[in-house]
Symmetry: C2
Subunit: 303 residues, 2 copies
């Protein structure tokens, strides 16, 4: 039986504009993306909050992927809403509005039966909430945390404290530079390792990902895509598939983390093909396996 | 006996400022970097122009690397001079001045004994000059051309004509976007292949390089460096080691080009460690081989 994973983060309703499309009230949020991504590899326990307006069909989508919703709190009020717009160059995004709604007073409560979950993903929420979750857990075996520029700006002391309590941080390249004040990513990664985590993965979007351990380094490209329709949630899917794959194999060696990183890359590459979670809804393990064979070939040299 | 390579491009005296250093009249220019890089793999035939002020010690440096200088024209006047400044984030560079000097009237003349050279690198100079060189050559086996944003801006018709006459184009990611008007690099590469070359390599600096053939794709990261002292010439070294490695092995299959790309990546990574060609001057094949073993490990998964 595969180890379950606990995923905490946001569940949101997103409105997203691109050069060619405009969609309202899509299922979004770090925990939604991460849970669905993780569910391809391991049973998922979701901890998040929604309002009374949260659509039943979204709840059904989680249930269909066998995501345990015991930790999905429903509070009086509206679900967290985010809206944003991508330029033609999808590397550039601007936030139009953020309405925290019920998320504003979210205090994650871990169901007691879940406190011994060994694999934990602290999805992108404030670092003080991420630390709250850890305080409720009973010696998890491997904890991955995601973060974002906002927390580096407004909650850096909490974030730095969190770094001493986790096994692995995932963040993107600009965040790594921002957190350390160093424009060289290799030095930035070394500086982050000194802050506490044993591993750090730096996500570079279309340029792939770098993984650092104290004496180890691994680099992979992104899966090459000609059509990207919605980059939202790619990083959350990456982190979700990563923790799911770690739990599935139970191998937390550097080699095991490398393999989990490949799964994160693959699931993220599917996710951006369609808006919201529409691609992951219908994704199959066969499709992942097929893309994996192709992807591993892209970086391989014949012996 | 290894096939020789013909390298055409600029030989310059560069003045370079960084946040921590300021150097005047360093040996530079696309052909200088590319020739030295290629010389680790194959005999090099250099075609370029210098003024009467070109220092003897630079000429000696080429000779020490067994670079044939029969095609290095000396003209009355001053050598081409370029000066630029890097920000703390070395991805950002600005040109302070460009004095073409003798380069302004450069008309590359290929010595008759060199016209049958099979492996040709058209280093970064104007595309009409690159085409002039090709018209003088007698059925080269493999022609690689480099270019830059300037030529896309002021000589695009010539550049497009050149693309129908070469085997492989190397350019950086922003240039690929500029040339095709497409912000997606995968689509941009496909569009460039449609313009003529069988292969295109897109250099992404610290993010590595993508190689495209009609039905092939290859992706490698950069060698991770904590200290970069002078990024000048990295792309030229990449192209030089690439053509040198192709000539050395004589293998122009996609697999052969992949291997040559690895050599380009390695030599470029050494080059940026010191100003000008100082690192390449003392570089050894043993150092390249050692870094290659390490580098190939960085992207490898255990079976």
């Amino acid at each position: 039986m595969t180890n379950p994973v606990l995923v905490v983060g946001s569940v949101a309703l997103d409105s997203i504009k691109t050069a060619t499309a405009d969609h309202r009230d899509l299922l979004g949020g770090s925990a939604s993306y991460a849970s669905l991504a993780a569910s391809f590899y391991a049973p998922v326990r979701l901890v998040a909050i929604v309002g009374t307006d949260f659509p039943k069909e979204h709840r059904q989508l989680f249930a269909d992927r066998k995501i345990d919703l015991q930790g999905l709190e429903e509070a009086a009020g509206k679900t967290f809403r985010w809206s944003g717009e991508y330029e033609v160059d999808m590397n550039n995004r601007r936030t139009i509005s953020t309405d925290l709604n019920v998320f504003e007073t979210f205090q994650p409560k871990i169901p007691s039966a879940w406190k011994k979950t060994e694999f934990v993903l602290l999805g992108n929420i404030g670092p003080s909430l991420q630390r709250d979750v850890l305080r409720q857990m009973d010696k998890p075996r491997f904890v991955v945390a995601d973060t974002m520029d906002l927390w580096i700006n407004i909650a850096k002391p909490d974030l730095v404290a969190l770094l001493g309590e986790i096994d692995m941080l995932v963040l993107n390249d600009s965040e790594a530079k921002q957190l350390t004040g160093d424009t060289n990513l290799i030095r930035a990664a070394r500086a982050i390792l000194k802050m506490g985590p044993r591993y750090v993965a730096i996500k570079k979007g279309e340029h792939g990902c770098l993984l650092f351990g104290e004496n180890n380094f691994f680099s992979i490209g992104a899966y090459p895509l000609e059509e990207i329709n919605d980059p939202t949630g790619a990083g959350d899917c990456f982190a979700g598939a990563l923790i799911g794959s770690l739990a599935q194999r139970g191998d937390i060696s550097f080699e095991g983390i490398k393999r989990a990183l490949v799964q994160g890359t693959l699931v993220a590459s599917f996710n951006v093909e369609e808006f919201s979670l529409r691609r992951l809804e219908k994704l199959t393990m066969d499709e992942i396996a097929k893309r994996q064979r192709e992807f591993l070939q892209f970086g391989a040299l014949e012996a």
